[in-house]
Symmetry: C2
Subunit: 480 residues, 2 copies
């Protein structure tokens, strides 16, 4: 029996998410190693569509897809000190080949800066070789000591798109950071996932970077989830690996680097932004099937009704619409409705004897569960419009929901109360000093997400912690 | 300076291959861990196209793409005794998370039978759940003690498509083996790669299988390379992992399984089948660019000639043809010819002042290096036909070359002489006894590839080793 819980928007979110993954055949988390899961056929199709959008965006903005090795010699990982300091305790280590101990042990990549650096050193000679924009979609590994959660916090992150870019100047790297933010915005916009972008506080930036920007969402339970990051690495790695280029003037300079990543959490974001008590709700542009046609046969009219279903499917197959005709005989129509609702197929078309007589079909939207009748003659344009409309409506609804869960408050007590009841994100004024940032985190028992980079606002007021003149708005939340 | 060696069809093949990989920017093998390489942007595009053909073939024949974990607990790997016996010394082992020793150590997958088995046990309940046909495209790891070679023998095999199927009966598994062979034939046919298919001798089958079929090619140096395998696993793994299903009669039976794999060696096969002294030659259907347009500017006519190039590119872009216009100003036309020849772009179009005057262009085929002139008005149909013709011609040429390198011989001495001079594959008659197979391998200092399954032949003669009545033809070669 399916186990989907009916209380998604409450504290049941964790259970809802876990059971929807298995019941909708997205990911099976019961692999014999903790924190490792299996992307099942249906989930893999969603993953393919989601990451195809990302690949297309990167390919069309000067990025080249590549594939670098998984294993990192300990000696490479150790070259950038902040980086190794943060990651060495988080790595899985390969220490043996067969029964032979390895002379240098290998880390399973937790991220690939130190994999790519030695190759860039071989490839980059002059300013004419720059910029270089590479990306790969791979698995990464973290020896998580925290509780693991399906997709959200895995020991094997099965899906990680990491981009790594090299530039001649800091300005070029800064421009690339801006480009990356724009690309990620377009990506999440395509998924109908609303986000906010913050500059992470200095104590929470990527180890080895100058600064980090991050995309966060608010999950249905009021906690936030980081779904994308963009880092300016400065010259930290290029100095550690001595990656230089010859300038036009003939001098040698270290390159400037950025990196930015998006993981399978992008799929968590889609599921969480649009799902409901019936299961998954997919935006049409990432749904493996956009329209499912379900004939409702009455006895002795099966053939006739199935034929009508075939006609409908055939009509739609002549368009771009991805359609599936469900002719299974071992399930009732009701079970089929349930089956496809759980999987989030955007549009269901039902056709029964009365519909055929009237030359009509019944169309049901997955997102609103609204029914409408439609003349067969108008089927194609109605479905095509609906595909576009559902995509827009999902986004608008999710956006409104997010806006409703951001609170500008003026006291620590108010912030604390809101966060305690998992209301969402609080925004307070801040003097920009780390000391007050840490105190804020302690007082409200939450994480500082950082200063908004997606909105501009004139600041006039006092730091909520120390009462000094505020320099920024800062966001705080209970973060996954 | 590029390092492509000019003696591909001789014993220089190894050098040719190694240097063409770097010079054409396919794979860089200079990563700081032996046997691990980097798929560079151009190589990755070829890889994408090649594996897209394979994905399309599998998706259209009832296979579902999935993604399973990389790590295998030692306890899982150990369940099938022949399997673990063969693989445990070949595995890389993860023994630590951070500085904490792991209680159960993990193997990096050398192949995924023991990864998938515990999940199948959870998923399969009844005959209605069967068949299941899954595949994934992943990296696999072998702690090779033999000398590694780029793509051919890696410690990280970065690209491995492995399919795993589950069936109710032996007959269904046998039928799946036949289907898999047909799918692989179509795949290699699409690449224009000629192959032969042999049933591997019992002493060289996949560990844990009933039997193994294999696709081999002959490399330009006369050695053979295994490029695909299909295994009938019988019930070996389903018994080891106790994977059962309820039959229609209500009894419990163990499932029957097959698996079949193709690795990055498919790309080795393409490069080796068609390459020449100038570098890579790509079949048009996997070339990232099919036509490169190179304007040949004369002084003061640059703009006018470049404009002609743009017109040609624009015309072709309206079709399915993938075209690139090379307007780089820092390279001479000659350097551009060299650049694109090295990378194997199937068609080059040159346009200079005289061509423009006459309303013509010059078309050069990469495979034959033949030039022809073509009226601008006929450009599109001529190019479209040529794309198809090059694909066919490459295949025919490679097929003839393979046929010319297979020798039916009647004595061990003759076989030995041919193999010693790396002439290709020898075929001899065989009594089918392992004893004679081993003696054959020893006498001719080569590997028995097995009995042909792609040809049928009435056998009438004596075993080349023992003189008993022969039962089969058997192939032998110096194998990579």
């Amino acid at each position: 029996m399916p186990t989907v819980k009916r209380k998604r928007w409450s504290k049941q979110y964790g259970n809802w998410f876990r059971s929807v993954l298995i019941d909708a055949k997205i990911m099976d988390y019961r692999y014999p190693i903790k924190g490792c899961g299996v992307w099942m056929p249906y989930g893999f199709k969603i993953r393919r569509n989601v990451f195809q959008i990302l690949r297309d965006l990167l390919d069309s903005t000067g990025h080249d897809e590549t594939l670098f090795p998984l294993l990192i010699p300990e000696t490479s990982l150790a070259k950038e000190s902040a980086h190794v300091g943060s990651f060495e305790e988080q790595c899985f280590w390969v220490t043996r080949g067969g029964s032979t101990p390895l002379k240098v042990k290998y880390a399973l990549r937790p991220t690939s800066e130190t994999v790519i650096a030695p190759m860039l050193k071989l490839w980059i000679r002059s300013h004419a070789d720059l910029p270089i924009r590479l990306y790969q979609v791979v698995n990464i590994f973290r020896y998580e000591t925290k509780a693991t959660r399906p997709i959200i916090r895995m020991r094997e992150v099965a899906t990680f798109k990491e981009a790594h870019t090299s530039h001649a100047t800091l300005e070029d790297a800064e421009a690339q950071v801006k480009d990356a933010v724009e690309i990620y915005k377009r990506f999440f916009d395509e998924l109908g996932v609303p986000y906010f972008i913050s500059r992470r506080p200095s104590w929470d930036k990527f180890p080895g970077s100058l600064y980090s920007l991050a995309f966060d969402i608010i999950c249905p339970d009021g906690r936030t989830l980081q779904i994308g990051t963009v880092h300016n690495l400065g010259q930290n790695f290029s100095k550690a690996f001595d990656i230089t280029y010859e300038t036009e003037k003939g001098t040698q300079e270290h390159i400037w680097q950025t990196c930015y990543g998006i993981s399978g959490r992008a799929i968590v974001a889609v599921l969480s932004a649009h799902g409901d008590d019936h299961g998954v709700v997919l935006p049409p542009n990432i749904a493996p099937i956009q329209v499912v046609v379900i004939p409702i046969p009455y006895k002795e009219k099966e053939e006739y009704i199935n034929k009508a279903g075939e006609d409908i499917a055939a009509k739609l197959r002549k368009t771009e619409v991805k359609v599936e005709l469900d002719l299974r005989t071992d399930l009732t129509p009701g079970s089929k409705f349930y089956y496809w609702e759980l999987r989030g197929i955007p549009i269901r078309i039902e056709v029964g004897p009365r519909d055929v007589e009237k030359g009509e079909v019944t169309i049901v939207r997955r997102d609103t569960l609204e029914k409408q009748t439609c003349k067969m003659s108008e089927l194609v344009p109605v479905v095509q419009k609906l595909v576009e409309k559902i995509k827009q409506d999902l986004w608008q609804k999710a956006l409104q929901w997010m806006k409703d869960h951001v609170y500008r408050v003026e006291s620590l007590e108010e912030a604390k109360q809101l966060l305690r009841k998992r209301a969402g994100v609080v925004e307070v004024l801040w003097c920009n000093r780390a000391e007050c940032g840490h105190r804020l985190e302690g007082e409200v028992d939450a994480r500082v997400l950082g200063v908004p980079v997606d909105t501009e606002e004139k600041i006039d007021g006092k730091c909520v912690v120390c009462g000094r003149k505020a320099e920024h708005v800062v966001r705080a939340a209970i973060a996954y």
